[in-house]
C-alpha cells in the first residue's frame, strides 16, 4: 500500500509540473494572438477603452499579468470571464461541466456496451455474416461527420416524426440524439479494437489449452479472452472519457446543450483570456486524472503491469 501511495505522489508531482508547462505555454500563446476581448467592429473611444483595460488590469506588463495569474490559480480562482462579466470562470465550469459529463457518461456507457459486444461477436466468428455487417456499420460510424449525423437525426426524429424535441436540455428525451451522435465514433473504434484483439487472443496457446481442458465457453470468454482483449480498450478509454465528458462544440451548437465543449472554441474566438486559460487548465487536469485512472485499472487487470516506483 505504501508503494502505491508513493507511486501516486510521484505522479502528482509530474502532473503539477506538466500543468505549469501547459499554463505558461497557453498564457503566452494566447497573449501573442492579435486582438483582444474588447476589440469590436465598432471601436471604443480611447478613454472608454482605457477605463476597461484598467478595470481588467490589461495595461499591466505581461510578466506581471502572468505572475498575478499564477498566484490566482494557486488559490483555485480562475477569475471573471471577459465575455460574460456576470459570471466567474469557476461558475461557468461548475454549471456546464455536469451537463457535459452527464451526456458523456451515458455516451461512453453506450459506446462501451455496444462496442464490446459487437466486437466480441465479430471477433469470435470472423468473416461471417454478422462480422461483415458489423464491419460495414462501424465504417459508417467512422466516416460520417457528427454534424451530418446530428442533422439527419434532427430531421427524422424531430421534424418528420416529431418524436423528440429538436434541441435544448432538461429531460431524458433531450439527451437521446446528442448521446447517439457522441457515441457513434467511440462505438465504432471500440468495436474494431475488440474485434482485432479477440481474433488475436483466440489464436494464443493458452486459449487452445483451456479449450482442450474442456473449459465452458462462457468461462473461457469472460476470464481468459476478455481480460486480454480489453487492454487496448482501456488505454483508449482515458483520453476518450476526457474528450467526451468535456463536451463537443458541434453537438452543443446543434442541440443547444449548455455544456463545456463550446467554450473551447468560442473563448478563443472572443479572446476571453480567463476563460481560455480556465477551460485549458480544467481539460488538462481532467485528462491527467483519467490517464491515471486508466493506469490503475490496467494494473488491476494485469498483475504483470507495474510502473516505476511501484515495483513489488
Amino acid at each position: 500500500m505504501l508503494r502505491l501511495a508513493f507511486f501516486l505522489l510521484r505522479r502528482l508531482v509530474t502532473c503539477i509540473l506538466a500543468m505549469l508547462f501547459v499554463v505558461t505555454l497557453t498564457f503566452f500563446m494566447m497573449k501573442a494572438l492579435p486582438g483582444g476581448p474588447f476589440s469590436k467592429e465598432k471601436k471604443l473611444p480611447p478613454t472608454v477603452m482605457a477605463n476597461i483595460e484598467e478595470k481588467y488590469r490589461l495595461n499591466d506588463p505581461i510578466f506581471k499579468q502572468y505572475s498575478d495569474y499564477l498566484w490566482r490559480i494557486a488559490k483555485l480562482d480562475l477569475g471573471p470571464s471577459f465575455r460574460y462579466p456576470g459570471s466567474s470562470v469557476n461558475d461557468i465550469i461548475k454549471r456546464s461541466f455536469p451537463v457535459s459529463a452527464a451526456l458523456g457518461a451515458i455516451a461512453v456507457f453506450v459506446a462501451l456496451t455496444l462496442g464490446v459486444t459487437t466486437g466480441l461477436v465479430a471477433g469470435l466468428r470472423p468473416c461471417q455474416m454478422a462480422d461483415r455487417i458489423l464491419v460495414f456499420v462501424s465504417a459508417i460510424g467512422f466516416s460520417v461527420p457528427s454534424f451530418v449525423l446530428a442533422g439527419m437525426l434532427q430531421h427524422f426524429f424531430s421534424f418528420r416524426f416529431n418524436l423528440l424535441p429538436a434541441a435544448l436540455w432538461g429531460s431524458p428525451q433531450h439527451a437521446v440524439m446528442p448521446v447517439i451522435v457522441l457515441a457513434a465514433l467511440p462505438t465504432a473504434v471500440i468495436s474494431r479494437l475488440v474485434r482485432i484483439q479477440v481474433m488475436e487472443v483466440m489464436q494464443q496457446d493458452y486459449i487452445i489449452m483451456a479449450k482442450a481442458k474442456g473449459l465452458p465457453s462462457w468461462r473461457l470468454i469472460l476470464f481468459h479472452v476478455m481480460p486480454n482483449a480489453l487492454q487496448p480498450v482501456i488505454t483508449y478509454l482515458g483520453p476518450l472519457i476526457a474528450a467526451v465528458f468535456t463536451g463537443s462544440f458541434v453537438v452543443e451548437h446543434i442541440f443547444a446543450i449548455p455544456g463545456l465543449g463550446k467554450y473551447f472554441v468560442t473563448s478563443i474566438h472572443n479572446r476571453d483570456y480567463t476563460l481560455i486559460m480556465g477551460v485549458t487548465i480544467f481539460y488538462s487536469g481532467f485528462l491527467m486524472a483519467m490517464n491515471l485512472m486508466v493506469d490503475l485499472i490496467y494494473a488491476l487487470l494485469n498483475p504483470q503491469v507495474r510502473y516505476p516506483g511501484w515495483e513489488e
Partner: protein
C-alpha cells in the same frame, strides 16, 4: 480474485457517472397562461443595462426596463410612453427638465424616482464601471470629462431636483437626445438595491427592474424566463403572462423548432430556406437601417485615385447581388445613409429626399473612368486583395463582386480570409487594400452615419479625409436650425459619394419568423430586436 478486479472497474466508472448526473427539470408550460417563446439565439453576455452592448442583450433589457420614453409600433416617442410624462427644453437646446410619473414602481415595490436616473447615468459614466457604451452619455455636460477622470461625479450634467423632476444639461445641442433616452443603457436603476449589492444583476433573486416584465429564471445557455411585472405602471397593457427566451444558436435547429411549434418567434433563418420562407409568407422582412459596404484604403495605390474607386463602385450589379446571393429582400445601396431616418420635415425620409448618388451597374461609365485613370480595359491594373473575416456570407458577396469586376473591368481580385480578431487588428491598423464594413445607428439621426467619415473619426479606416466634409459635419452638429442641419448633412453625403472612399452595396433587413397566433410583437428599427410589451397570443 478476478471478479474483484471487474468490480473495481465497474465501481470507478459508476462513481464517475453518478457524480456527473443531477440536472434540473424544465418547468412545464401551463395551458391557461399566455406564454410566448422567442429564440434569442445566444446567451446574453450580461443583464446589467449599463453594460448591454449587443442587440440580444438590448432586447432582454427592453423587456425588463422602461426608460424615460419608449417607442411605439409607429416608431413614435410620445410623452408619457415611459417614465417621463412631460419635458421642456431650454431655447438654447442645452437644458432638459423631465417630469416623471409618480405611479411608477420597481418590481420590488419601491417607487421609481429621478434619483434612480441620476444614479444610473452617473454609474454608466463612472470610469470604474468600465462600460463600453459610456459614450452614449458623452452628450451630457462633463460626461466625457467624468469618464476620463478629469472631473467628479457631481459636476456631471444630470441632477434630480426632487423625487420626480430630473434636470439634464448637455454639452452641445443634441436634437436626438430624447431618442437616446429610450436606449437601454440609459434605463434607470434602483439605487437602493444596486448600492447595497453591486452583483444584483447576476442572480434572479436580487434582480430588480421597472419594465413590462420581470426576471424569473436564467438558465445559462438555455433560456431566460420572464413574467409579467405586476408592479409595472402600464401593467394593463401587458397581455403576456410569461415570456421565454431560448438560446438556440444553430439557425437550422431554430427553424426545425419553429416548424415544430417549439418556439413562437425565430430570426434569421438559414440562407438556403430564405426564399421559400419569404414567398410562403412564413418569414417577415423588415428593413433594418444599416448599410453594408466596402471600404478602400485610400492611402495606397491604386485606391488613392478617386476615378479607380468610382469605377469599381459603378461596375457592380447590386440588384443581382441582393436577388441572387442574399435573397432576403435587401435593397441595393446607392448612397451611404439607409432608409428609415426622418428628414427636416419629420414625415419625409432622409434617403428619399437625398435620392441616389449614382446608377447601379453603370458599366460604361465605370470603363471610361478606369481608362481615364490609366488602365484601359484593366491593362496594367495590379491584382487587388479583398480582406475579410472567415464568414460564408462575406465570401459569397465578394465572389460575386470579383466576378463582376473581372467581366466588366478586367480587374483581378484575390480573396483573403482571416480569423475575426486577426482580421480586425489588420483592419484597424490599415493593413488592407479593400475590405467590407457594416454600420448601424447608435441613435435615430443620419449623423450617426455621416460623422463616421470625418478625418479624425475613430471608425474612419479609409485614410480619406476632406476639410470641406469635416466643416459641413461640424456646422451641422452645432446648428440649431433643423432645415439647415439636414441641408448640410445632404451636402456632406454628396461629397462622400463624389469621393467614394466607401462603396455602398446594400441596406440590411431583419428577417423574422412569427407564428400566426403571435400578435402585437414587432421589430423596431432602433433598439431591441423585438418589442414584447404589447405582445399577445391569439390561438
Amino acid at each position: 480474485m478476478r471478479w474483484k478486479r471487474y468490480l473495481a472497474i465497474v465501481l470507478i466508472i459508476l462513481a464517475l457517472t453518478v457524480t456527473a448526473c443531477g440536472t434540473k427539470q424544465p418547468e412545464i408550460k401551463q395551458q391557461s397562461e399566455a406564454v410566448l417563446i422567442y429564440n434569442l439565439g445566444t446567451e446574453p453576455e450580461i443583464l446589467d443595462p449599463a453594460k448591454a452592448s449587443g442587440r440580444p442583450e438590448i432586447t432582454v433589457m427592453a423587456a425588463l426596463f422602461d426608460g424615460l420614453v419608449r417607442y411605439n409600433e409607429k416608431n413614435e416617442l410620445n410623452k408619457g410612453s415611459g417614465m417621463a410624462v412631460d419635458w421642456a427644453v431650454s431655447p438654447d437646446g442645452l437644458r432638459y427638465i423631465f417630469k416623471l410619473r409618480q405611479d411608477a414602481k420597481w418590481s420590488n415595490g419601491d417607487p421609481v424616482t429621478a434619483g434612480d436616473f441620476e444614479f444610473a447615468w452617473k454609474r454608466l459614466l463612472a470610469p470604474e464601471t468600465g462600460a463600453e457604451y459610456a459614450y452614449q452619455l458623452f452628450y451630457l455636460k462633463n460626461g466625457q470629462e467624468y469618464n476620463s477622470g478629469k472631473v467628479t461625479a457631481d459636476q456631471v450634467g444630470v441632477k434630480a431636483l426632487d423625487s420626480y423632476t430630473l434636470q439634464v444639461d448637455l454639452a452641445s445641442p443634441t436634437p436626438y437626445f430624447i431618442a437616446l433616452t429610450a436606449t437601454s443603457n440609459l434605463a434607470p436603476l434602483n439605487k437602493k438595491v444596486v448600492e447595497a449589492n453591486p452583483d444584483w444583476h447576476k442572480a434572479v433573486e436580487t434582480y430588480v427592474s421597472n419594465g413590462p416584465f420581470e426576471l424569473v429564471s436564467w438558465q445559462h445557455h438555455q433560456k431566460l424566463e420572464l413574467k409579467k411585472n405586476p408592479n409595472y405602471w402600464d401593467a394593463s397593457s401587458v397581455k403576456l403572462d410569461k415570456l421565454v427566451m431560448t438560446m438556440v444558436e444553430s439557425r437550422d435547429t431554430e427553424l426545425i423548432m419553429f416548424q415544430n411549434n417549439e418556439i413562437d418567434i425565430g430570426e434569421n433563418p438559414p440562407l438556403q430556406e430564405m426564399r421559400k420562407l419569404i414567398s410562403e409568407g412564413v418569414a417577415t422582412v423588415i428593413p433594418d437601417p444599416s448599410t453594408y459596404y466596402y471600404i478602400f484604403n485610400t492611402s495606397k495605390p491604386p485606391f488613392d485615385d478617386v476615378r479607380v474607386r468610382k469605377a469599381l463602385a459603378y461596375a457592380i450589379d447590386r440588384k443581382a447581388i441582393v436577388e441572387n446571393v442574399l435573397q432576403a429582400g435587401q435593397k441595393p445601396a446607392l448612397a451611404f445613409v439607409p432608409f428609415g431616418f426622418s428628414d427636416a420635415s419629420a414625415e419625409k425620409d432622409f434617403r428619399v429626399v437625398g435620392g441616389s448618388y449614382f446608377k447601379d451597374n453603370d458599366v460604361s461609365e465605370a470603363k471610361a473612368l478606369l481608362a481615364e485613370a490609366g488602365y484601359p480595359g484593366g491593362t496594367g491594373f495590379p491584382e487587388i486583395e479583398f480582406l475579410y473575416n472567415t464568414n460564408e456570407s462575406h465570401k459569397k458577396i465578394a465572389e460575386a463582386i470579383a466576378h463582376m469586376w473581372k467581366e466588366n473591368l478586367g480587374i483581378k481580385v484575390k480573396l483573403v480570409n482571416q480569423e475575426w480578431g486577426i482580421y480586425l487588428n489588420n483592419r484597424f491598423q490599415g493593413n488592407f487594400q479593400l475590405t467590407w464594413s457594416g454600420w448601424g445607428p447608435d441613435y435615430p439621426d443620419p449623423m450617426t452615419f455621416l460623422d463616421v467619415y470625418v478625418s479624425d473619426g475613430g471608425h474612419n479606416e479609409t485614410a480619406w479625409g476632406s476639410a470641406q466634409y469635416d466643416g459641413l459635419i461640424g456646422r451641422a452638429k452645432l446648428s440649431g436650425n433643423s432645415k439647415e442641419r439636414f441641408a448640410l448633412m445632404h451636402e456632406a453625403e454628396k461629397i462622400l459619394m463624389d469621393e467614394m472612399p466607401i462603396m455602398p452595396i446594400y441596406y440590411y433587413v431583419n428577417v423574422t419568423l412569427y407564428k400566426p397566433w403571435v400578435k402585437g410583437v414587432f421589430s423596431p428599427p432602433f433598439g431591441p430586436q423585438q418589442e414584447f410589451k404589447w405582445g399577445l397570443i391569439k390561438k
